[in-house]
C-alpha cells in the first residue's frame, strides 16, 4: 500500500466539511469509544447525523462501521465484555443512560441486516411482528399496518396475494424488502441498514436503492455499505471510517469528488480497502 506513507500525522483528528450542529441532528455522538474486552474498536467518534437524510458509513472491513451502527440501537449489549464511554444521544437523550428503556429505544430504530433474516412464519406475521410483540390484536390495524409497510417496502404488489405463505418462500431480494417492511412497520424514526444489499444480486440491489430513495425524508437512514457507488448514489452525507476512527465526514458529493484527507481519496478511488 503506497498510501501508508501519506497518512497524515494528525490521524486522530476528524475532518468535517460541515459541522452539523446538535439542532437538526437526530443522532449525536461525542467522543464515543467502544472496547471489546481490552481491544478498542471505536476511537473518539464524534458525529451528528442530520434528521431525515441518508447517511452512509463507508470504510474497509473491520473499521468499525457495523459496530458503530449497532451501538445506535444497543445491539452490542448482546455481546459480553463490551464497554463504552463517551456520549451517544438520540434527540438529546443519552442512549446509554441506565434509566433508558432499551426495548422502547429499539422500537424507535428499525434495523435491516446484512443477510435477510425473515422469521419462520407467514409474510403477514413477519411484517406485523413488531405490533404483535406489543400485544396488538386488532385485526384491522394489523392488516392496515401490513399493507402500509409492504407498500413502503415496495413489496405489496408481489406479496399481497400470498400473505399467508411462509416468508421463506420469497426470493432473497424479496426477503430483504420484507425485512425492511418489518423494520418500518412500527413506524420508527431511524432506519439502520447494515450492508443491506451485500447478499443480493444487482437487480434486487437496485430495487432496494430505489426504496431507500423513497424512504428518505420520512425516516433518517443510516446505511453501512462496502459498495462505494451505492454510497454515492443513495446518501446525502458520507462518513469514512478507518481502523475504528472517523476520518472524514461530509456531503457525499464532496466526499467522493474532493475529499480533504488523502486516505479518503485513496479509499474512494479504490487504491486500498
Amino acid at each position: 500500500m503506497v498510501s501508508v506513507a501519506r497518512i497524515q500525522p494528525d490521524e486522530g483528528e476528524t475532518h468535517y466539511h460541515v459541522r452539523a450542529g446538535t439542532e437538526g441532528a437526530i443522532i449525536d455522538a461525542e467522543n464515543f469509544n467502544l472496547f471489546y474486552g481490552r481491544k478498542q474498536a471505536l476511537f473518539d467518534i464524534t458525529l451528528s447525523v442530520p434528521r431525515g437524510l441518508v447517511c452512509a458509513l463507508i470504510g474497509p472491513s473491520g473499521c468499525g462501521k457495523s459496530t458503530f451502527l449497532r451501538c445506535l440501537n444497543r445491539m452490542n449489549d448482546l455481546i459480553d465484555n463490551v464497554t463504552i464511554n463517551g456520549t451517544m444521544r438520540i434527540e438529546g437523550r443519552d442512549l446509554y443512560d441506565p434509566g433508558i428503556d432499551v426495548i422502547a429505544l429499539r422500537k424507535r430504530m428499525g434495523m435491516v441486516f446484512q443477510k435477510p433474516n425473515p422469521f419462520p412464519m407467514s409474510i403477514f406475521e413477519n411484517v406485523v411482528y413488531p405490533l404483535r410483540i406489543d400485544g396488538v390484536r386488532d385485526r384491522n390495524l394489523l392488516e392496515e399496518t401490513c399493507e402500509r409497510a409492504l407498500r413502503g417496502a415496495a413489496l405489496w404488489d408481489e406479496a399481497k396475494d400470498r400473505l399467508k405463505e411462509s416468508a421463506l418462500s420469497l426470493s432473497g431480494g424479496q426477503q430483504q424488502r420484507l425485512c425492511i417492511a418489518r423494520a418500518i412497520a412500527a413506524d420508527p424514526e431511524v432506519l439502520l441498514m447494515d450492508e443491506p444489499c451485500s447478499a443480493l444480486d444487482p437487480i434486487a440491489t437496485s430495487k432496494i436503492e430505489e426504496l431507500i430513495d423513497e424512504l428518505k425524508g420520512r425516516y433518517t437512514i443510516i446505511i453501512v455499505t462496502h459498495n462505494m457507488q451505492q454510497a454515492a448514489r443513495v446518501s446525502d452525507n458520507t462518513a469514512f471510517m478507518y481502523l475504528g476512527r472517523l476520518i472524514e465526514f461530509g456531503e457525499t458529493e464532496i466526499m467522493f469528488t474532493a475529499p480533504k484527507v488523502t486516505k479518503t481519496l485513496d479509499y474512494v478511488t479504490g487504491r486500498f480497502g
Binding site: 440501537n73 419462520p120 410483540i133
Partner: protein, 576 residues
Amino acid sequence: MPPDSGLALTPTAAPRGASRPTDLLARGEPFLWGLGGALGFGVMMIAGFLLLVLWNGIATFYPRPIHVVTLVNGDVLAGEPTRTESFRPPAAEVAALPPSTQVTVATKLGFADRTLYRTGNFDLYGDDFRWVTDYAIARITTPPDLYLFERLEWGPFIGRIKSVDLAGATFDAGGIPLERLAVAHDEARRRWRQIREIEHDEIGRVNQQIESERLALRKMELGAGAHTPEYTDAAGRTEARVAAMTREYEGLAARAAALKAENARYTIALADIKGREKLLPLAEIMRFYPANDLSIFGKLGVYVSRWGEFLTAEPREANTEGGVFPAIFGTFAMTLLMVIAVAPFGVITALYLREYATQGRLVSVVRISVNNLAGVPSIVYGVFGLGFFAYIVGGTIDEVFFPERLPNPTFGTGGLLWSALTLALLTVPVVIVATEEALAAVPRSVREGSLACGASKWQTIRRIVLPRAMPGIMTGLILAMARGAGEVAPLMLVGVVKLAPELPIDGIFPYIHFERSFMHLGFHIYDVGFQSRNSEAGKPMVFVTTLLLIALVALMNATAIMVRNRLKQKFSGSQF
C-alpha cells in the same frame, strides 16, 4: 498413465508419475472398505434381528397340523411339530438300537435328528412338550378328526370329540352337528363374558363403593373420634348404604350364578389319542379347530382370531396364553405420561442453561453432570424412584391425603405415576442435550432481527427461538420416548407387575389412577420368557410380544417423526 501414450513408449523418457504408484494407504481405500464393512455389518445385524423377531412373531399364531406319531416301542402321541434339531444321542441308547439304525447314526457322525412335539393335555400327563427322536418313530399320520382345543385352563387339549351335551341333547362321536356346536359354543362364550363383566366390572364397582364408604367412615373416625354423636350418626347412615349395596351385590351374584348354571348345561367330552377322557364345559374352551382338516381360509380365520385375542384380551395361564392388552395399554400410558413429564422439564432446563445462564465454569459443570446422568445404569434410577418418589413423596401424600387407608399404601408404593417420573428422570438428559443443540442452532441473525424489532428476550425466545428449535426438541423427545418405552429394569422397582388386569384408566372416579401398578410389554417379555412354569410354551409369546413392543415403539416414534417433519416443513423454505 494409459499404455498407448506415446510418452510411455519412448524408452528414454520414463513416464511421469508411473514410476511410483500412489500408495494404497494414502488413497484410503482400505479404510473405505473398513468403514463400509462396519456399516454393512451393523445393517446386517439389525436386519437379522428384525427378521428373526418378525418371522417368529408372525408365524406363531398360524395353526399347525397335528401329527399322530406311533413310536417303534408301540407308544403313540399326538401333537404339533414345533421344531427339529440335531443332537448326539447317548452311546448306551445308540447301542440298544437295531444294527441298521446304528449304521445310519454312525454315518451322521453320531448325530440324530429329533422333533419337539407340542402334545398339550398338561392335566393328563404333566407336560406340554415331548422330544421324539427320528429313529424311534414308526409311523406318522394326520387323521382329520383330531381337534385342537384352546382351554381357559391347563393349556391346549389335543384329541377327538367323544360326545357333546347341548342342554340335554346329547350327540355321540358319529353324529356331532358341528354347526350347532359352533353356535352353542359362541353362546356359551357370550355368557362367559357376561359373567366376567358382572363379576369384574359391576361387582368390582359395588365393592369399590363399599370400600369408599368404609374409608369415609374411617376418615371421620380419625378426624372427629369414634365416640362422638356425628360419628355414630354417620356410622348408622353408612351401614344403611352398605346394606343397600350388599343387596345390589347379591342381585348381581345371583345373575352371575344363573348364567353359570346355564353354562354348566353345555358340556363336551373329549378323548385324547390314547383314549383318556376329559369332560369340559363348553364355555371353558376359547376356540377349537380340526387342525388337519382346515382350509387355508379356516387357518387364516384361526390366525386372525388369535391375533385379535392377543391384542385385546387379558393374559391367562401365567401370562403364557391369552392377550397382552393390559401390557400394551400400560406401556402406552406410561410412555405418554413420561413424555408429558419430561418435555417441559427438559426444555425449561435447557432454555435456562443455553439462553439465560452466564456461560461459566458452573454451567459447564452442570452440563457435564447432565450428560453423565445419561450414563447412569437405569436400575439406579429405579432404586432412586422407589426410595424418593414412592417412599418419601408417596408416603407423605398418603399421610396427608389418604390417612384412612393406611397402613395400606396408596401412593406410597410403586405405580404408574412414579414409573413415569422415574423414566422422565432417566431420559431428561437426552431431552436437555437435544434441546440445547436445537437452541444453539437457531441462527443469531434471526434472534437479532427479533430483538431489533423491539422484542424482549423472552418474547424472542417464545415467538422465534422456540418454534424454530421445535423440530430439534422433538428429535430429543423421540429419542427419550424410544429409550423410555424400552426400559424395563427401573420399572420393576417402581410399579410394573406381572399381572394387573385393572387398567390405570377406567370408568371409576377419578378415571385416571396414577397410583395403580400396571403391566409393561418389556417386563412381560422377561416374565413370559424366563419366569413362567413352562419356558417352551412361553417362547412363541416372547417373540410375539417382542414384535409388538418393537411395533409399538416404532409406531410412537413414527407419529412423533411425522409431527416433527410437519414442523420442519415450515422452516424448510429457501435457505437463500
